[in-house]
């Protein structure tokens, strides 16, 4: 019998723009005030995505586009099904 060949993903590769977990502090309305230790200076926009509800991987996210006090543009979302925060950029 031939040995089974296992294809392993190359170490260190990941999909571009894959969301990463983030540590987000929010105010009483649920608006982010701090992302990964960077205080939020301004909320540029917030939007909702609810899709793929008919599949095994439904998607329900609240996105926030923020400007940090250092002037950096940050996009985070809260997974409304699991409750965790993720960062897109």
């Amino acid at each position: 019998m031939k040995p089974v060949r296992v294809i392993k993903p190359a170490v260190g590769t990941r999909r571009l723009d894959d969301p990463r977990t983030a540590r987000v502090l929010v105010d009483g309305d649920g608006t982010p005030t701090d992302v990964d230790g960077q205080p939020v200076a301004h909320v540029r926009e917030s939007w909702l995505i609810e899709d793929r509800w008919w599949t095994d991987q439904p998607l329900h996210r609240r996105y926030w586009e923020l400007v940090s006090q250092s002037g950096r543009d940050i996009v985070v979302f809260r997974d409304l099904l699991g409750g965790s925060w993720f960062r897109h950029r």
Partner: protein
């Protein structure tokens, strides 16, 4: 601008957030909630006002207005109009003039949607039209995605509407572009001096419908959910929210939130009172006098001296009520319509035909009870001699215009509808709309596709589904196995189908309801072109039209009237007799014998399986009893528990003429005497309410109307308390008795006939039976030529006719006409038009060629005349039409293959050479089964062998339909046959009734729910079944025999060997050859031919009409 009561509309107090942009399911395949659901949710969420703004229509506005009024919510009417460049504006009605302008705008938008008959173009209106019809409307600049957002366009709107009636519309659908867009719009508004207003662009009343809205978008674009992602709404922000939540959503735009209330205060239009519709003739002061003169002039013609006084008194009373209600013009209009119909009938029938003796049409429905209708020709039933009271049709408290329904033969109706449009003008006459809604089968097919489920599995589930059941999960499990429907996409299918159930799918036209107006109808309701050329629809269904007080005339096509006319004409041609159906004997013994023996296949109304069973027990012996008979098999009497008591009392009365049927209360005796103490007719509901509870005629009519409308449970319940209290006050009835009578009345809430309608239909039932009895071949021929109509498909009609000795002749290229015909010997010849796949022009050309050159002598001559294409000729050959030229079907096909017809080629027709085809090689003859399949595949009718006659030698232990009559009650039997009808009435608690046919007659099967659940796919789809069960012959059933089914199997010749246990067997080839030379079915040959399932004749199937 001032309000309708002369007050400034700005005085209306409105505070908080008002939803001004909301779609219902009448934004077809976009909105996902009915108007009443939106109203209910809005009231619950704390809204006091709500606007309905469906896409390019006001289809649901009347329903919305009434639902809102019921819950104390203030309705605002409007629409989201699509402009020429596909952008949207939201229009809201501020006044009656605004409603008129909205209707005209929507009519303009739809004017060119049917320019190409094959496709439905989207409605669109130009900005110029908007400018021309801006008065009385408030315009918002439209939705976030497709609104008018550029300065030049908004300026054009500003020119049209002015700053007071134009707002810049801000929406917050939680897109990534919201903030930028709204800031830009706010800036534009500031620049132009306009105010902004916030709206929610609502598409669903609850979260549970948000997913359905996604599915609708995918369905509308014919895509799956996956592939429609760019077109769908990204989230559920389009679900109705509370005013507080909406104010919070727009917290950055508080002025726009406040402006919603300001706009709402500006709108002052009530659709339920401000429509301004008047029906034709109402303004004519001479109408009363003219109607009286018309009726009195005819009174002496219609009544003998003895009956004149009673008729005159009744006429005076009706004329007085008509005058008091302001309806003389209405009756004159109908008379005018009938005169128009008379002209049309003369044109359609020709002056010298036998059918010219017949009236152009006849009344149905409650109008038949009116002596005015009788005298003006609208009804053919004498209400005096038939004992018809006018209360259901006319009473002094009438709350809306009575309906007049007229039946016409199909050909006359087609022309008449066109002429009515011409006579009254295209802006004043239109057909009523209907909205076909999602039922389980359509939902499974369409939503299953959207979910990307496997097509074959979807079809399997859909075919086995019960049309009116919402238990899709059961349908899935029955079709695909247990647990299949409980998870994943199948579970979503169940959930989406349940939510979609009953929502309108698209627009269609009512079978014949027309609305006619004096002022242009487009001032009251938008008119849109119908799919059929030359016809147009109002944007409301019959309930909305009734709520609007529109005069509606039903011009209905009745297949039996067409058949009767054809029959009369055929009798004149074949026998030289002119039959006047109004002068035939109405006490003909042979006719009543046929009715009492249920020999009524093909006749009007009393031919169905259920009617036949009932006829043997009720044994009608005159027109009055036939009138009851027509009304009895209806949901109303069945649910009201009237049927069995009536039949039993009728039997006892037959046995003992002194028998007194029981009656629940003396006050009901006169009301229910004729129907032996039961409620059979719709008018009796009213009469009981008046006699027992002291209801006024108007109140009683209100109860009747509540019963006849859809979604009426709540309305009926409201009448219950008044009924019980009234019974106590009026006749001193104790509550328990009042409750019993109420249950009889409330049970009737399903559909039932008014007595007048039954009298009209009973007469036609008698006339058609009389024709069947005395002119059998001509009547059968007429039925075959008027298909589709009636309960039985042509194949069953043919077999039944053969059983009673009518000679049926196969289709023949030299002997058949285009339609079926009666030949000199009294045989009925199947027409060439029955061969499917051959175009009518080809048939006409073949007949013309035959008439010119004489009968075709051989196939080369037939093929050479180039009148039909090769596939059509092959189809004719396969149908057996060329057997006389070639010997049999295979040889005919072979010869046609050699003798190619003239072919159309670029540049002209390549004529065929009239060469001899030569001798065909030795071709195996077709077996009897193969001939049967060929018959069904081509004409759908088998005039030769019955399928069961072929199979019978191989089926042992199977009882024939004839033998069943001799077996005792309770016998265990096995029967087999071809399925003729399958029915699962809502009133039968899940029991399925099937009618199967063998070569000797028919057998009624009763399939109990557990057996149905076990064999659902066989019951629903198999054309040939083998059944085991118990014979039931009810006492006093008049000889009715049923088989209560315990097991059910499909029966195909290739399966025969498997039925060894049932006693059936397929002989081996040697046996077959020695069986009197017969050709027995061979499984391989039959499989190669596709089996019966592929070509089975259509049957009456589960209320969905005929289908294979």
């Amino acid at each position: 601008m001032t309000g309708k009561h002369g007050q400034p509309p700005m005085t209306r107090a409105v505070t908080g957030y008002v939803e001004l942009h909301c779609h219902s399911a009448y934004s077809f395949l976009d909105g996902a909630s009915m108007p009443d659901e939106l109203v209910g949710a809005a009231a619950e969420l704390g809204h006091e006002t709500l606007a309905l703004t469906d896409h390019d229509g006001v289809w649901g506005s009347m329903e919305f207005a009434h639902a809102a009024r019921g819950l104390g919510l203030r309705p605002i009417h409007g629409a989201e109009l699509t402009l020429d460049d596909d952008r949207h504006v939201t229009l809201l009605v501020a006044s009656a003039a605004g409603w008129t302008n909205l209707c005209r705008l929507l009519t303009i938008a739809h004017a060119h949607t049917r320019d190409s008959p094959a496709t439905l173009a989207p409605p669109k209106a130009g900005v110029q039209a908007l400018r021309d019809h801006a008065e009385g409307l408030v315009c918002l600049t439209g939705c976030a995605e497709r609104g008018v957002h550029d300065e030049p366009s908004v300026r054009r709107l500003l020119d049209a509407f002015g700053p007071d009636r134009l707002r810049v519309e801000l929406q917050r659908p939680f897109l990534a572009s919201d903030r930028a867009r709204n800031r830009s719009l706010e800036s534009l508004a500031g620049h132009l001096g306009l105010r902004c207003v916030a709206t929610g662009n609502i598409h669903a009343h609850a979260r549970s419908r948000a997913h359905l809205q996604d599915a609708f978008v995918a369905l509308r674009h014919n895509l799956t959910l996956e592939s429609s992602e760019p077109l769908r709404r990204p989230n559920g922000a389009h679900v109705l929210s509370s005013p507080a939540a909406m104010a919070a959503r727009f917290r950055e735009h508080p002025a726009a939130v406040a402006e919603t209330a300001a706009v709402a205060a500006q709108l002052d239009f009530d659709l339920t009172s401000d429509l301004g519709y008047r029906y034709p003739g109402v303004e004519d002061e001479t109408a009363d006098r003219r109607l009286g003169e018309l009726c009195r002039a005819r009174l002496h013609d219609r009544y003998e001296a003895g009956g004149l006084a009673a008729a005159g008194a009744r006429l005076d009373e009706e004329l007085r009520v008509i005058r008091a209600l302001g309806l003389p013009g209405f009756f004159l209009l109908h008379h005018d319509m009938l005169e128009l119909a008379r002209e049309v009938a003369l044109d359609v029938r020709g002056p010298d035909t036998a059918r010219a003796l017949l009236p152009p049409g006849r009344g149905r429905g409650s109008s038949v009870s009116s002596i005015v209708c009788y005298l003006t020709g609208l009804s053919h039933i004498d209400p005096i001699s038939s004992g018809l009271s006018m209360g259901r049709f006319l009473n002094p408290e009438l709350s809306s215009v009575p309906d007049i329904d007229l039946d016409f033969p199909r050909d006359i109706r087609e022309v008449l509808i066109r002429r009515v449009h011409e006579r009254y003008g295209h802006d004043r006459a239109a057909l009523v709309a209907t909205f076909p809604s999602f039922r389980s089968r359509a939902a499974i097919r369409e939503l299953g596709k959207v979910l990307g489920l496997p097509p074959a599995e979807i079809e399997r589930v859909a075919r086995g589904a019960n049309g009116f059941s919402r238990r899709i999960d059961r349908d899935v499990e029955t079709a695909l196995g247990p647990n299949h429907g409980r998870s994943g996409r199948w579970a979503w299918l169940e959930s989406l189908s349940r939510e979609a159930y009953g929502l309108p799918r698209h627009v269609s036209q009512h079978p014949g309801g027309m609305v006619i107006a004096t002022r242009p109808l487009i001032d009251c309701v938008p008119i849109v072109p119908a799919a059929m050329e030359g016809r147009q629809l109002v944007q409301w269904d019959k309930d909305s039209c009734a709520d609007a007080g529109f005069l509606k005339i039903d011009l209905l096509g009745l297949g039996m009237l067409s058949a009767v006319e054809r029959c009369v004409e055929t009798i004149a041609q074949t026998r030289g007799e002119r039959v006047d159906l109004s002068r035939i004997p109405f006490d003909d013994k042979a006719t009543y014998t046929a009715i009492q023996n249920a020999e009524t296949t093909g006749v009007f109304q009393i031919e169905s399986r259920a009617q036949m069973q009932s006829l043997r027990r009720t044994r009608p012996a005159n027109l009055d009893e036939l009138t009851v008979q027509v009304a009895i098999i209806r949901p109303g009497p069945i649910q009201g528990g009237a049927v069995n008591p009536y039949i039993e009392r009728r039997r006892r009365l037959r046995d003992d003429p002194d028998y007194k049927p029981p009656c629940l209360h003396p006050s009901l005796e006169s009301v229910l005497r004729e129907t032996l103490g039961t409620i059979i007719f719709q008018d009796q509901v009213m009469e009981v309410a008046q006699a027992f509870c002291g209801f006024s005629p108007g109140e009683a009519d209100g109860l009747r109307r509540a019963m006849s409308r859809k979604r009426s449970d709540a309305a009926i319940a409201r009448y219950r308390d008044r009924f019980i209290a009234g019974a106590a006050d009026h006749v001193g009835a104790p509550q328990a008795l009042a409750q019993t009578v109420w249950e009889m009345v409330a049970g009737f809430a399903g559909f039932g006939f008014p007595k007048a309608h039954s009298a009209a239909f009973g007469l036609l039932a008698y006339q058609s039976t009389w024709l069947r009895v005395h002119y059998g071949p001509e009547f059968l021929c007429a039925l075959l030529n008027e298909q589709p109509m009636g309960f039985y498909p042509p194949d069953s009609l043919v077999h039944e006719a053969q059983r009673r000795g009518i000679d049926l002749l196969a289709v023949d290229i030299n002997a058949s006409a285009a339609e079926c015909s009666v030949d000199a010997t009294g045989g009925v010849r199947i027409g060439l038009g029955y061969v499917s796949g051959v175009r009518s022009e080809e048939i006409a050309a073949l007949i013309e060629a035959r008439d010119q050159t004489g009968a075709f002598k051989n196939l080369a001559e037939l093929a050479g005349c180039a009148s039909a294409c090769q596939p059509s000729l092959e189809q004719l050959a396969w149908s057996g039409a060329c057997d006389a030229l070639a010997g049999d079907r295979r040889r005919a096909l072979w010869e046609l293959g050699i003798a190619a017809p003239g072919r159309r080629v670029p540049g002209g027709v390549q004529l065929a050479l009239g060469l001899e085809t030569g001798d065909a090689p030795a071709l195996r003859e077709l077996g009897r089964w193969e001939v049967l399949l060929a018959d069904y595949a081509t004409t759908g009718v088998s005039v030769g062998d019955h399928a069961m006659a072929i199979l019978r030698p191989h089926l042992h232990g199977i009882t024939t339909s004839l033998e069943l009559d001799r077996l005792p009650h309770g016998s265990t039997v096995a029967v087999a046959g071809i399925v003729v009808a399958r029915q699962r009435p809502e009133t039968a608690s899940g029991v399925v009734f099937m009618l199967i046919e063998d070569e000797l007659g028919t057998v009624n099967l009763i399939v109990p729910p557990p057996v149905y659940d076990r064999h659902r796919h066989i019951v629903r789809a198999e054309p040939l079944v083998l059944v085991h069960g118990r014979l039931e012959r009810p006492a006093h059933g008049g000889g009715t025999v049923n088989v209560l089914v315990s097991t059910l199997r499909s029966l195909e010749p290739e399966h025969l060997e498997r039925f060894g246990s049932a006693g059936a067997r397929l002989p081996d080839n040697r046996q077959a050859e020695t069986h009197a030379g017969e050709h027995h079915p061979e499984p391989e040959r039959i499989a190669a031919a596709g089996g019966l399932r592929a070509v089975a004749p259509p049957v009456q199937s589960f209320g969905s009409g005929r289908r294979r």
